[in-house]
Amino acid sequence: MSGIWSDTARRLKSSPLALAAAGFIVAVALVSIVGPLVDSNRFDTLDWSNIAVAPGAQHGHWLGTDRLGRDLFVRTLDGTRISLLIGLIATSVSLVVGVAYGAVAGFAGGNIDRWMMRVVEILSGLPLVFFVILLTVMFGRGVLLLLISIGSIGWLTMARIVRGQTLSIRRREFIEAAIAGGASSGRIIFKHVIPNVIGPVIVYATLTVPQMILFESFLSFLGLGIQEPHASLGTLIADGAAEMEAAPWILLTPGVLLAVLLLSFNIFGDCLRDALDTEER
């Protein structure tokens, strides 16, 4: 077990692309936490003497200000932190739900499996984005609802992957030994099945984070996610798109940051998959 992980780590370290992507993500995360503490501006203070000024150091706003005179450096970092946090929490939610659901379906097999996967199939055929929008109309817009609705989309593929993996190890000797030893189904699922399907789960979780961030930004961009005065990368891009003729810098920073961040997560996930993939070697 530890051999696989040290092998994977070694292979990841020898890939400059993976290192660059991971380095960028860590750096952005750190700066988004530390930056707002260090900078004297706050995300919601209005600087009336500097409305929509361009980036520069002379007026104390590194990345300029928006049309309300709010500092874009601090707002972008705050928004990045919120986007990253929501991405991580939503991924965790879909990870827990998806792994549990998939493992139970795959381990139970038979009719239980058929019905559980039928539910997944029907749900994945629906335009879930539109249901999430429907939910925001009915229950208002808040961070909690945002997390629930984003997480509720992410677990479907995870459940499928885990179920497939579980099916393939269900008949292996160590599971039979556990059954023969009198272990309960719950114990077998949590102690024997899940630890052995963790590789693909980690890969897919890495690839889920950018999806969740993207979806959060998408909803926030439309005005259905994070609400003023708080910012996420999506709301910052929406602000920027509205002012792009007069003040293109408002759009440029969060836009480039989001694109590179999503790219980094995707590249790192792909590299991780290649590094973990024992069959391709």
């Binding site: 629906l126 009915m138 439309l222 259905l224 999506g234 920027g240 792009m244 293109p248």
Partner: protein
């Protein structure tokens, strides 16, 4: 089309109707479960005025009667009145918006399919060449760069700096208005289709019957089009429904930014205004369309891969 295909299709159709009914039912009751009524925003109406308003919209009836009425009206294509746009019905709004959305959506999916399949095939034929790397880079970027970043950026470059294209707007018949929205809409599915086609084409090209075709001296174009294309397209057909869903999702952004008067913009506006009936109607339209797409894809599968017809 043989009896088997028809029976297979009818079977799938029989499965789609309950799904759609379930969607409508769940959405309807979710809407009624929500805290607060649609008229909460009106500043403190006197109770009898509120009662009158609710009576006009039939909201004073028991829930199952409301549900029955909604279904009955829906069967006649009536999505009910919009709670915010007082003078128009949801059906009228959909009637205005659907042609716009359907036009840009259809163009985008057509471009994504043609260009995506062509790029993927070229990349598969010239593995590890420049075109292969370019296609793979496009595939990664197309999936990672969100439409709501790409569209403003392209607008900044092509409309504001170069003045080649209008920034936003919609005049019937003006193709220039559509270039940026369609380009942004088709990029993610195009990228993914190119990636899928490349992978499946590489596999198909390795199979014995393709080698036989080449050995007979058949020209490359004929081998690809007559023999390799159909099986290579099976995974692409499987991606069609997600592709349409991606274009629908993207159209919410694109229509909002470009000011195209499609149903995507109405959905976003309706959601921001908490216009219950409008959003419910839009969700039903989108779901119906997506389920219909799924049925079409089933037929397409049966054509692309004849083995599917003989399983039930």
């Amino acid at each position: 089309m043989g009896m088997r295909t028809i029976r297979y299709f009818l079977g799938r159709l029989g499965g789609a109707v309950p799904t759609l009914l379930a969607i409508i039912t769940i959405s309807f009751f979710l809407m009624r479960l929500a805290p607060g009524g649609p008229f909460d925003a009106e500043q403190s109406l006197p109770p009898d005025a509120m009662a009158n308003l609710e009576a006009v919209y039939g909201l004073d009836q028991p829930l199952w009667i409301q549900y029955g009425r909604y279904l009955g009206a829906l069967a006649h294509g009536d999505f009910g009145p919009s709670y915010r746009y007082r003078d128009v019905t949801v059906t009228e709004l959909i009637g205005q918006g659907l042609p716009v959305s359907a036009t840009i959506g259809a163009i985008a999916i057509a471009i994504a399919l043609c260009v995506g399949v062509a790029l993927g095939t070229l990349a598969a034929l010239h593995q590890d060449s420049m075109i292969d790397y370019a296609t793979m880079a496009l595939a990664v970027a197309g999936v990672a760069i969100p439409s709501f970043v790409l569209l403003p950026f392209l607008g900044l470059v092509f409309a504001i700096h170069l003045h080649w294209l209008p920034v936003a707007g919609w005049e019937p018949g003006s193709a220039a208005d559509l270039v940026l929205p369609v380009a942004v809409l088709c990029l993610p599915p195009l990228a993914y289709i190119a990636r899928l086609t490349r992978a499946s084409m590489i596999e198909v090209l390795r199979s014995p019957y393709i080698r036989t075709a080449f050995a007979k001296g058949m020209p490359l174009g004929t081998v690809i089009l007559r023999h390799a294309m159909r099986p290579a397209l099976v995974p692409v057909a499987g991606y069609l429904v997600p592709a349409v869903a991606a274009i629908m999702t993207g159209s919410l952004v694109v229509e909002s930014i470009s000011g195209l008067p499609g149903i995507g913009r109405y959905l976003v506006q309706g959601a921001l205004n908490r216009d219950y009936t409008l959003v419910l109607g839009m969700v039903i339209v989108y779901s119906t369309f997506l389920i219909g797409m799924g049925l079409l894809v089933d037929l397409l599968y049966a054509w692309l891969d004849p083995r599917i017809r003989f399983q039930s």
